[in-house]
């Protein structure tokens, strides 16, 4: 009996991510959910700019490449034109929380019936490890070599907490993929975010606390420990909004 195999919605290609990058885990979880809900034929994914820019090569569903940060706006258009299709965006913190913050907030406020998978690894990966809006206070990056100084650079943006103040969103949850238990919880959250869209409930966003071994300067396993010790205390996991639970 096969206990575990590559999901059908994930293309059988070599992903370009660095060794130990958890983008691959989240890609697989999204593909597993697409398989389990049986929606591969009608799913349209929106790829971002950032490390996951080539996500369009990794999913077997139709994909659209958006301009930097504009994935929720593109998803809005795709969903409104094709309301029977399932539309998801896959975005990193530089895309969603920095250049694309306006699109993110307004699509949430409008309660667009889309699913957003948001990867928060507290750094700009593709461009070489610069400080992101989500970098932790004191975190050393290429552009904060003495650590993020909050007096100069401000504080990190907690996207789930911020969006939970809006009346619009249906479902907001923060998960992590640093161990097996958290990966299983992350899959449940992603499945719910897709199911909400199938049920026409509205805007669902799952923030995945992720790692960047290369730009953090850590080994893959130490990067996951850093997630546990530094990231999760600052970005507490949990459901931030779930209208259907009320």
């Amino acid at each position: 009996m096969v206990v575990f195999d590559k999901p059908k919605a994930l293309a059988d290609v070599q992903m370009h991510y660095c060794p130990g990058c958890t983008h691959g885990i989240v890609h697989r979880l999204v593909a597993e959910v697409i398989d389990e809900l049986g929606i591969e034929g009608k799913t349209i994914g929106i790829a971002p700019v950032g490390c996951s820019v080539m996500a369009y090569d990794y999913f077997n569903c139709d994909m659209v490449e958006a301009a930097h940060g504009r994935a929720p706006a593109v998803a809005t258009g795709v969903k409104r034109a094709n309301p029977e299709n399932i539309v998801f965006t896959y975005q990193g913190d530089g895309d969603l929380a920095s250049i694309g913050m306006a699109e993110t907030v307004h699509s949430a406020a409008r309660n667009e019936n889309i699913t957003i998978i948001f990867i928060n690894n507290a750094i700009y990966g593709m461009t070489g490890g610069q400080m992101a809006p989500t970098s932790l206070p004191g975190q050393i990056t290429q552009t904060s070599p003495y650590g993020r100084n909050v007096n100069e650079c401000g504080f990190p943006i907690k996207v789930c907490e911020m969006l939970s103040q809006l009346d619009g969103p249906e479902y907001l949850e923060r998960v992590a993929v640093n161990n097996v238990k958290n990966v299983k919880n992350a899959k449940k959250a992603i499945k719910k975010a897709f199911q909400n869209q199938v049920d026409k409930k509205g805007f669902s966003l799952v923030e995945v606390v992720s790692s960047c071994p290369t730009n953090w300067g850590l080994t893959p396993s130490n990067a996951l420990k850093w997630v546990e010790e530094k990231m999760i205390p600052y970005y507490p996991l949990g459901v931030y909004k779930d209208r259907s639970s009320k």
């Binding site: 009996m1 096969v2 206990v3 575990f4 195999d5 590559k6 999901p7 994930l10 070599q14 992903m15 991510y17 660095c18 060794p19 130990g20 990058c21 958890t22 983008h23 691959g24 885990i25 697989r28 161990n179 097996v180 990966v183 299983k184 071994p213 080994t219 893959p220 396993s221 996951l224």
Partner: protein
């Protein structure tokens, strides 16, 4: 009896599966190099495998197939 199949040439040698395995089944093959130039994972204590698929759950490149 559990069985593991690896797509060895896609392995990036990150070792997350090795850490995740509760039974110490896996190790990076430091005497081998795959097409990508990494030391790929291999099963060194296959008889201890319980087929829990923790390794495959943590593998970012989805190279492990688990049968039980």
């Amino acid at each position: 009896m559990a069985n593991l199949t690896f797509q060895v040439d896609k392995c990036k040698g990150c070792g997350l599966c090795v850490e995740a395995c509760p039974k110490g089944v896996l190790a990076l093959a430091t005497d081998k190099i795959n097409k990508k130039g990494h030391h790929p994972v291999e099963a060194v204590k296959m008889e201890a495998c319980i087929g829990c698929a923790f390794c495959a759950t943590m593998c970012p490149d989805c190279i492990i197939k688990v049968e039980r």
